[in-house]
């Protein structure tokens, strides 16, 4: 393998590291009165990174199998890059606030560094690279969550996240150490044949799932989610709920399908129980929320339960449905968080009751929010329906019909609370609604991208077939 091919295989990671270092240096060189330039230049730089890393490259492995890149992982990283690009477009208004003037560069650099960690995690070929990527992706996020330095809620969310994520890493590592003890290797390819349903492996696997369940916020391990999402700035919440969770889901599915494929009868039972619990409890708690960020937190917990249905399908169909669902989830959730961020910046309102009468004053924002919520609920014309439909198909291909029944019942329950928000915006009367405002141009562009995505990704069946062909090469 020549040097240039190595560079091409590492294109996502190298470009991201270059971009982050470039942003830090640019931030240092800018005089204090021109600091706001960093917002546009970082967004444009990241857009260039996103476009450059779209180059298709054949699969290959580096560092003796520690780093494995193929078309599918490349596509996953492109999805994450796209999500981060949309988040950068949305965060301009928040960063322009006076109290953030001295730390705008950090915001971009930290997000890009964590994204690099996630890319390494997705491409990992052994548990060590996986673990280092996971920690690179989760330690700086705590700093981002506590970004609103002078708000006690933000500080509280940050400390809750770092302590709980350290605990979950510890539990995850304890599981990995047992798997190492049972199989004698940390390389995925060497572990896979040695995995059998021995007590040590199963115990290690349970610890492993507990640790990963924390990162994906599956139900018994979800208690941090709502608090951290509520305390963090809206754009960071969007990042946590889409990018962090998406990357964790990708690597979780890859490890289940490759490393643990010999004990499929064990992990299917575990995931069955987790899926039922996650969907049901996530939905039930979402009903009683009034804060929009807490509401979206529980909604994203429930969505994680639906994603598990895709994992139950196993093999190339399962992988395809997960990647496809997360692509749709990026557009959908970022549209919802974008509207929440726009309203919060303009008026400081972040409760659902405060959204009453929004349609009368801000019709376009209300429409985008409605589209996003319909897509989250899975109402037919929009993309969310197709995403959920394929997830159910994936579980159905393995014959889990009772699980699908529970999932459909849960989707109906979720419709209730999503429509509560729509009702507040469109029907409820309010004497003092959020007044009319015009959000920054970048925010409008990002909402336009999200709306187009919500409309067209569902109908463009070529995307699903493309992902299918990518994952078909692997499984």
């Amino acid at each position: 393998m020549t040097g240039f091919q190595t560079v091409l295989l590492l294109r996502h990671e190298l470009l991201l590291i270059l971009a982050a270092v470039g942003i830090i240096i640019f931030d240092l060189l800018l005089p204090p009165e021109k600091k706001t330039r960093i917002i546009h230049s970082s967004t444009i730089l990241f857009g260039a990174v996103f476009l450059l890393s779209l180059i298709p490259v054949e699969s290959g492995e580096l560092f003796g199998g520690s780093f494995q890149e193929n078309r599918l992982t490349g596509f996953m990283k492109d999805i994450l890059n796209l999500a981060v690009f949309i988040i950068f477009l949305q965060s301009g208004g928040y960063l322009r606030k006076k109290e953030n003037a001295h730390k705008m560069g950090e915001y971009f650099a930290l997000i890009i560094f964590t994204l690099t960690g996630m890319d390494f995690m997705i491409s990992s070929g052994d548990f060590l690279t996986f673990f280092i990527g996971l920690e690179t992706a989760s330690i700086p996020v705590a700093g981002l969550v506590a970004y609103d330095q002078f708000k006690s809620r933000s500080a509280e969310a940050g400390v809750k996240l770092i302590l709980l994520s350290a605990l979950s890493s510890g539990v995850l590592l304890f599981g990995i150490s047992m798997i190492y003890g049972a199989t004698g290797s940390i390389y995925f390819t060497d572990i896979a044949p040695g995995i059998s349903a021995s007590p040590l492996v199963i115990l290690g696997f349970i610890f492993f799932v507990s640790g990963m369940g924390f990162k994906i916020s599956l139900v018994p391990f979800h208690l941090w989610t709502a608090d951290v999402y509520e305390g963090a700035p809206v754009n960071v919440t969007a990042y946590l709920s889409v990018v962090s969770k998406g990357a964790a889901v990708f690597i979780f599915a890859i490890i289940l399908f490759t490393v643990f494929k010999n004990i499929i009868q064990v992990w299917e039972n575990v995931l069955y129980a987790l899926a039922v619990l996650t969907m049901t409890i996530g939905n039930l708690f979402a009903i009683r929320q009034d804060n929009i960020k807490r509401f979206l937190a529980f909604s994203s917990i429930a969505q994680a339960g639906f994603i598990l249905l895709g994992i139950m399908g196993t093999g190339s169909l399962g992988m395809t449905t997960i990647v496809y669902f997360l692509l749709i989830y990026v557009f959908t959730n970022l549209a919802a968080f974008g509207v929440a961020a726009a309203i919060y910046e303009a008026s400081g309102v972040e409760t659902i009751s405060g959204y009453k009468g929004l349609y009368a004053t801000n019709p376009r924002l209300s429409l985008v929010m409605m589209l996003a919520l319909f897509s989250l609920a899975g109402i037919p014309p929009v993309a969310g329906f197709f995403g959920k439909f394929f997830l159910f198909t994936s579980a159905g291909s393995q014959g889990y019909f009772i699980l699908i029944l529970i999932a459909v019942a849960n989707a109906t329950v979720s419709l209730y609370y999503y429509l509560l928000v729509v009702k507040a915006m469109f029907i409820d009367k309010n004497d003092q609604p959020v007044s009319h405002f015009k959000s920054p141009l970048t925010m409008r562009i990002s909402l336009l991208i999200c709306s187009l995505g919500i409309f067209f990704v569902g109908f463009a069946s070529g995307i699903f077939e493309y992902i299918m062909s990518l994952s078909g090469m692997l499984f």
Binding site: E135, S152, E156, L163, S169, S177, F285
Partner: protein
């Protein structure tokens, strides 16, 4: 190998450390002590890796390397956690977990 000590002795110690860490994480009130409990968990995992490597697969070094990285990452984690705890201290002037409860349910 130390005479008279088998792999079980080491594993019992590391497992005990792990669960003492979990218990401390749940019981303790002071945020710094909670952080110490997490460090205990990470160190127990490091012992686990070393012991498995030394007793079961002595011709390889994967477990040794893993434990080195665990120690490094635990240090990074501790530094960020302490920075955030200091931030909490500046807001509410103590670091008692019971007082860090503005958001619930």
């Amino acid at each position: 190998m130390i005479q008279g000590l088998s792999i079980y002795h080491f594993l019992v110690v590391s497992t005990l450390m792990f669960f003492i860490g979990i218990a401390g994480f749940i019981i303790r009130q002071n945020l710094i002590t909670i952080l110490l409990s997490v460090e205990l968990i990470l160190n127990s995992v490091a012992i686990n890796f070393l012991v498995f490597n030394r007793f079961l697969y002595p011709d390889q070094l994967q477990g040794h390397f893993f434990s080195l990285f665990i120690i490094g990452i635990a240090a990074a984690e501790a530094s960020v956690a302490i920075a955030l705890i200091i931030n909490i201290y500046r807001r509410i002037h103590n670091i008692n977990a019971d007082n860090v409860n503005e958001m619930k349910f």
